[in-house]
């Protein structure tokens, strides 16, 4: 049934800043402001109206929210004050939580690798991050990609802006607490979702 509001209500309550979605007046400023606008299948405004219309699958499986470059243009221009950037981030996360986001979506994959890289040591290891990113489709593909980017990597290395640290072994001192903290945060979120 169209305009079944159960999906909308789920989003309002459980996606980050999701409750703002009901305030959209469909003016189109967000879409017009987006640097990658033409690459979005559905603009933020469209996503919001689709959420209201109950189009859960189309929204969650959409690649659209993964196009966000976090430039915040839409957010500062939105005449209704919607924190659109955060809402779009929230929708991406929501799609992950609902297990609808495509695991192979490039940005989603990157986000996962980055998070893991970060969580492992508390800070980003840039070389490990890049390497992992290249290797995600297997080593041959990774080598190919790496070759394509070797000029960039070499110049970074040469200028002293890339550390030879492919294994990313360093840890922050309070790493245990750091891990415990993230675990706790995830627990609380999980609990909230279940309630």
């Amino acid at each position: 049934m169209a305009y079944d509001l159960s999906f909308a209500k789920d989003v309002y309550e459980n996606a980050e800043e999701g409750h703002w979605i009901k305030m959209c007046m469909q003016c189109g400023v967000c879409a017009g402001s987006c640097p990658l606008g033409p690459h979005w299948e559905f603009s933020p405004r469209q996503l919001f109206q689709m959420i209201r219309a109950g189009k859960a699958e189309e929204v969650l499986k959409s690649e659209s929210m993964w196009m966000c470059v976090s430039c915040y243009h839409c957010m500062v221009r939105c005449p209704r004050g919607l924190p659109i950037t955060h809402i779009v981030h929230g929708l991406a996360r929501f799609a992950v939580e609902k297990k609808r986001a495509d695991k192979d979506q490039v940005t989603r994959r990157f986000a996962k690798i980055l998070w893991e890289n970060m969580e492992r040591g508390g800070r980003i290891g840039e070389m490990a991050l890049t390497t992992k990113l290249y290797m995600v489709n297997g080593i041959p593909d990774g080598v190919k990609k790496g070759m394509e980017m070797k000029d960039q990597a070499m110049s970074m290395l040469k200028s002293g802006r890339l550390k030879m640290d492919p294994l990313h072994l360093s840890r922050i001192r309070g790493h245990a607490g750091f891990k415990a903290m993230l675990k706790k945060a995830r627990e609380i979120e999980q609990k909230k979702r279940e309630s």
């Binding site: 990658l36 196009m67 940005t107 980055l114 800070r123 840039e126 960039q152 970074m156 903290m181 993230l182």
Partner: protein
Amino acid sequence: MTKTYTFYPGCSSEKKASAANLDISVQSMCHILDIRLNEIKDWNCCSASIGYAEGGELPRLALSARNLGLAQKQSHRKDVVATCAACWLALRETNDRLNEDAEIKAEMDEVLQAAHLTYDGSLRPRHLVEVLIEDIGWDTLKEKVKKPLTGLKIAGYVGCQTNRPFGVCGDSFENPTYLDKMIEICGATPVAFDKKVACCGGALAFSELEKVCGLIKDILQSAKDSGADLIVTPCPVCQLNVEVYQDKVNQMFGTRFKIPVVYYSQLFVAAWGGSWKQAALHQQIVPANVLKRFVR
């Protein structure tokens, strides 16, 4: 008198990381201005603008909350200064959310407890540029100039996250003026630069390089059209994307860009009479040779 601030450098400003040139030039700049930056001990990554997808809301906010908690524990100072746009944004956003949303605050108390930390929301995350403008003042920044960069045409590229959603010193989101003013102070000429606040693609350079190169190309083209010898920016992501991918852009679009991209801090150090190394200009990938005639 020395001004001291708690400092959150962020991952890219680590030694031999991608914005090492930012960090070195910032340190040189602060030295000249008698600013002391006390790095938060054992800080962690903020997960930048891509942490949302895997981390989710609370874990992501927890990253910055931990940094704030550490800062509060380690110092009585209220100001926490960041040099990276994403770091600053994450700190400020987290701080605002904790202050505005009682539910998140309560949850965060519980979360931080797991790391044996507390945070009461009372710190003030600031961008270093704000410190320069508000605490040091334009007059002092100008007084320091020893080698005015006369004749140099510079595109002031403010980018996104230094500018939005919070903005520096209340400056416009669409047409901020502080960077042009900095260029002017250094004796150079700011050019009319259409892409002043355009996006470089940010973190999506890692996942959507082709799309992002399109954005970078527009930025470079606009700088070139405006006659700029040099691009200056406050943001490590902007600097990285626009500088490092120039070859890629040239390859993709058949262009022949070779425009140096430096940080405002590098510019200041150069104009204030600092050395090539102090300004970390040796760490450029597109060499900033146009600055050579001004810097020893």
